[in-house]
Symmetry: C2
Subunit: 349 residues, 2 copies
DNA sequence: CTGAAAGCGCTTACAG
DNA sequence: CTGAAAGCGCTTACAG
């Protein structure tokens, strides 16, 4: 005997009302082949009994589970909450559930995570791929969120444009020498952001790149980044490619007795949870995750609903990049006149 | 016509092998009522065809979906990644999927989230409740992760003991006056942590409580916490009840030119992503989320597998509190001799 | 050891 | 407008 569900089913409603299950089904689904009078009576009775449709029955019959998968490279990434929240919200609005899968670890784990979701019968999935992973079409529609310059990307923040906004902001404040601080040189997202910054520098501005992972390979994990020296060399702006790196830079500078933003400016990306909380609050460029999620989900659902059979395709959206928004807070300010000028100023006093 | 699934089903394997579906089912489920020889042949053929069992069919027949729900008060909470990762891992190990539900917003949203999961047919769920929410038994087993002093809690970190560890650590470093920094006075977790700290203070130590939310009600959100003044008053240790508050304290102190840990110590809770990254790295007390998740999931599954019918109960575990682990990093150090003593010392020189 | 059959709850052509 | 029937894919008593 199958373990029985607690609540009533269509058949119980039907017999108790003296009608057929087909009619009850039609009435509740509102497909309209039932007289409004009867339909109303059925809906009322169903509500009264606390009827909850069986997803299993429906899924078996329709071939659709009503569930989407969300594959993340590493849930521990602080970006995850925003993504998950946005995806869950977009899915919920379309009456879909979201099954999470973490592919922490290598690419193999990512493939396994995807397979597990398929075994669970998801109708489609949203994948935020690991660095440099190419998502191959599997056996359900897939939306990829990475960066527009990654082939096969469905939709993402316009990281390049975000970088340009940071550059324009720093240019406007009079900064000349920018240290760009990234974590991993293989990240498409970070490279796009860095490229955007460089491309947005005004005349007379220059930049240098610092990859933390490379530094740590020689100096050990958790090492100082040597930012005080960089400041002494004349860098006045530290543009991190993520708020986590920005936080690292900010606290290192503060610890070295360098005042932010009086002495130097620090900026980040992503507007993570702590950005408005630290002192000074972080200037950062924020992704519009709600919009990205909305686009990804609607592209996904369009494909799911159109294709009768469950084809494995990477879906595309009309808009594949969503502008980032610059959020100016206290961690960035006007560039102090460089040493030489300061001297001039003092002479002039 | 129901939209057909792409892959083969039991019936296809059966006919292609000239046996019955029942035998194929038995062979694949390994229930052993099939000769090993035939079973092997069937397994081989199934693998060859790339057979993936239909969750829908199985769920409809067995009354179990193989999916658990995870209800979070607010996915944006930085603790979420750790919880989600741990729960997903524990569930995956038991061959269950995890459906997420965010109850951001009020208590109503939490109830709705729970209902939505039930409609999706979860076999059980893990709930991390909103502050001061009492989870009432719904129509499936529920495991609650909050704090041991919350009635109806299934399992949680021993926040009180975590607080005691922090207190012992600060006592050992010679600190006398501790400022405990919390966010919300209604949080059970924060109250337990604060209580633990107070109860763990050694002779001659004293503490004062600072609730940020209260301060912000008058001084506005994002206001300074006035920690420099507290330091001047003689507080040498700032024990935040979460790493987010610890980060806020740390950066405010640094901005005010107070050196951590040379002048004062800062500690946090939860070992969040940035704790090892900031300078100085944060001393913190970490929850063993893996163990908590394991206990919650296994208690949940035990109830699910035992109860034939899907009763709505809050499950209990033998162990309801898991010790926290103190992680000592550079943000805490020996208390500097207080002013009076310093003078003595100078006289003695 | 193996198979025929029932049935989980639903939706959807089809017939009336 | 309403109903009888088939069937989605699976598991599980039951019979042989």
């Amino acid at each position: 005997m199958a373990s029985s569900r607690p609540g009533p089913n269509l058949s119980r409603i039907a017999t108790s009302l003296g009608v057929s299950v087909a009619t009850v089904s039609n009435a509740l689904s509102g497909k309209g082949r039932v007289s409004e009078q009867l339909a109303e009576k059925i809906r009322e009775h169903a509500a009264e009994l606390g009827y909850i449709p069986s997803q299993a029955g429906r899924a078996l019959r329709t071939g659709r589970s009503g569930v989407l998968g969300l594959v993340l490279p590493d849930i521990a990434n602080p970006l995850f909450p925003k993504i998950a929240q946005a995806i869950e919200f977009a899915a919920k609005s379309a009456d879909y559930g979201v099954l999470i899968a973490d592919s922490r670890g290598d690419v193999t784990a990512q493939t396994e995570a995807i397979n597990r979701l398929i075994e669970r019968g998801v109708d489609g999935m949203v994948v935020v791929p690991r660095r440099a992973t190419r998502i191959s079409a599997s056996s359900c529609p897939v939306a990829v969120i990475d960066t527009a310059s990654t082939p096969g990307n469905t939709v993402a923040a316009d990281h390049w444009q975000g970088g340009q906004q940071i550059a324009a902001h720093l240019a406007g404040l009079g900064h000349k020498r920018i240290l760009i601080i990234g974590n991993n040189p293989e990240s498409n997202v970070q490279n796009d952001r860095a490229g955007g910054i460089r491309s947005g520098l005004a005349k007379g501005m220059s930049s240098e790149m610092l990859w933390i992972e490379r530094l740590e390979q020689t100096a050990g994990p958790g090492c100082r980044l040597g930012l005080a020296r960089k400041a002494a060399e004349g860098f006045t702006a530290f543009a991190a490619l993520s708020d986590l790196q920005a936080l690292r830079a900010l606290t290192e500078l503060q610890q070295e007795g360098i005042n932010v933003p009086a002495d130097v400016s620090v900026t980040g990306f992503d507007d993570l949870i702590w950005s408005p909380v630290v002192t000074p609050a972080l200037t950062t460029a924020r992704m519009d995750m709600d919009r990205i999620a909305e686009i990804a989900i609607s592209a996904l659902l369009k494909t799911i609903l159109e294709s009768g059979t469950r084809e494995g395709v990477i879906v595309t959206a009309e808009t594949d990049r969503v502008p980032m928004q610059l959020i100016v807070r206290q961690s960035s300010g006007p560039a102090r006149p460089a040493k030489e000028n300061l001297t001039d100023g003092e002479l002039a006093t």
